[in-house]
């Protein structure tokens, strides 16, 4: 997500009528792109895509296979799997960020997409928070108390660390429910591998 550009949602759905319905619901708030198959989705996936809405049952590459390739690649996008049956809890371990069970209602779709975007915001804030905490620790390890008290850089850094901590507390994307909590932890591990 950058600046005032609307977030990008990629719909991967082999039934054109269904895909068009999702598009109509989302197009006022998001830039929507549509792929009719898994292989087309992988071609269309680039850095600008924020959320992928992925149908699990498709001819050709299945949703699971597409997900595996997305996770193996460079993209940090969020993936909501669209399934025909309610998955059980263990499915959280499979690597997607959320799921929707068909038939999907407009409000459910909106809620899922905005929740996934909020989670991305949380991850971004957490990353920034860590960078600042590390800088702060470096200064603390190399300068005396007196030097730190005199340092404008250190004072500003400390103030920013406090602000970000508050912002993180207000952005519930990381922990709002169990699903968010697990997905956020998985993202930490994924980030570690790259």
């Amino acid at each position: 997500m950058s600046g005032s550009e609307p977030p990008v949602v990629l719909i991967v759905e082999d039934e054109p009528d269904v895909a068009e319905t999702y598009n109509l619901w989302l197009q006022d708030e998001y830039e929507v792109r549509m792929a009719e198959s898994g292989s087309e989705a992988l071609e269309m996936l680039d850095e600008s895509v924020d959320v992928v809405l992925l149908d699990r049952m498709m001819p050709g590459l299945s949703g699971d296979e597409v997900l595996e390739r997305i996770r193996g690649g460079e993209s940090n996008c969020r993936v909501a799997m669209v399934t025909a049956v309610e998955p059980d809890f263990d499915i959280l371990e499979m690597g997607f960020d959320s799921y929707l069970t068909k038939p999907i209602r407009s409000d459910e779709l909106h809620e899922t997409v905005s929740n996934l975007l909020e989670r991305s915001t949380y991850d971004g804030l957490l990353q920034e928070y860590y960078s600042l905490v590390e800088k702060q620790a470096t200064l603390e390890a190399t300068k005396s108390h007196a030097e730190l008290a005199e340092s404008d850089e250190y004072q500003q850094l400390s103030a920013r660390v406090d602000d970000l901590n508050d912002e993180l507390s207000e952005t519930l994307g990381g922990v709002e429910d169990d699903e968010d909590f697990i997905a956020t932890l998985r993202e930490l591990s994924n980030g570690d591998e790259h």
Partner: protein, 228 residues
């Protein structure tokens, strides 16, 4: 649950384990780092704080990176002094299920392949919270022992973020979190970074064979050093 008079939002009183003023009323959702050199009883202190909660019908969750679930349960039962408690154990010490769990004790156990499997640990904690909630424990205390082991499996950035995310989850559950770290095993900068993920810390030191502890961060001034 007749003896459980705790209401949501009630402060945690840890002063019967460590008698210092900042521990008389600890805000629900607080996460505390227990730091000190090797072999100074950091894990023992964390277990004692959990055992104290159990005596007030609070739930207890132990995330263990070293001891197997059976050992954790035995050790914890020894500290509680009975077999009647609600305990969840997340055993990250290896992926093999060992002997059958002790049937006298009704503990929830979850096995995770490695201390570096953060998603697995998270799933274990989620399921443990659910299991304890199902048994009527709406509040409780969680101990993770130890962050030092986790730091050998994954980098400090990931451990820091993990602590932050887990603290937020505990805050939502109104649990109290206790995390141990071996201060002698890491450089000063790493300790400084990890500390930032916590609301406060309990420092342990040993001088002339006497163990002492003090609390910092929960109140504006550090507490006095008191004997452990």
């Amino acid at each position: 649950m007749a003896t459980n008079t705790d209401q949501p939002g009630t402060m945690y009183d840890l002063s019967s384990v460590l008698d210092v003023e900042p521990l008389q009323a600890v805000r629900p959702g607080s996460s505390i780092l227990i730091t000190g050199p090797a072999m100074t009883g950091k894990q023992g202190l964390a277990y004692d704080i959990l055992a104290d909660g159990v005596s007030e019908n609070q739930g207890a969750i132990i995330v263990s990176t070293g001891d197997r679930a059976e050992t954790v349960i035995d050790e914890f039962a020894g500290r509680v002094g009975s077999d009647e408690f609600d305990l969840g154990v997340i055993d990250c010490a290896g992926d093999q299920q060992t002997t059958a769990p002790n049937t006298d004790i009704n503990a929830f156990t979850h096995h995770v392949g490695s201390p570096g499997d953060l998603t697995g640990i998270g799933i274990g904690i989620t399921e443990a919270l659910e299991a304890l909630h199902g048994r009527g424990a709406d509040r409780g205390r969680l101990a993770l022992s130890s962050l030092s082991t986790m730091l050998t499996y994954t980098d400090r950035k990931t451990v820091f973020k993990f602590c932050h995310v887990l603290s937020s989850r505990l805050e939502a559950a109104e649990y109290l979190g206790l995390f141990t770290i071996d201060a002698s095993a890491h450089d000063e900068q790493t300790l400084q970074v990890i500390k930032q993920a916590f609301d406060g810390m309990i420092e342990i030191r040993e001088t002339d064979g006497q163990r002492e502890a003090r609390v910092r961060g929960l109140t504006s001034e550090p507490s006095e050093w008191v004997e452990l």
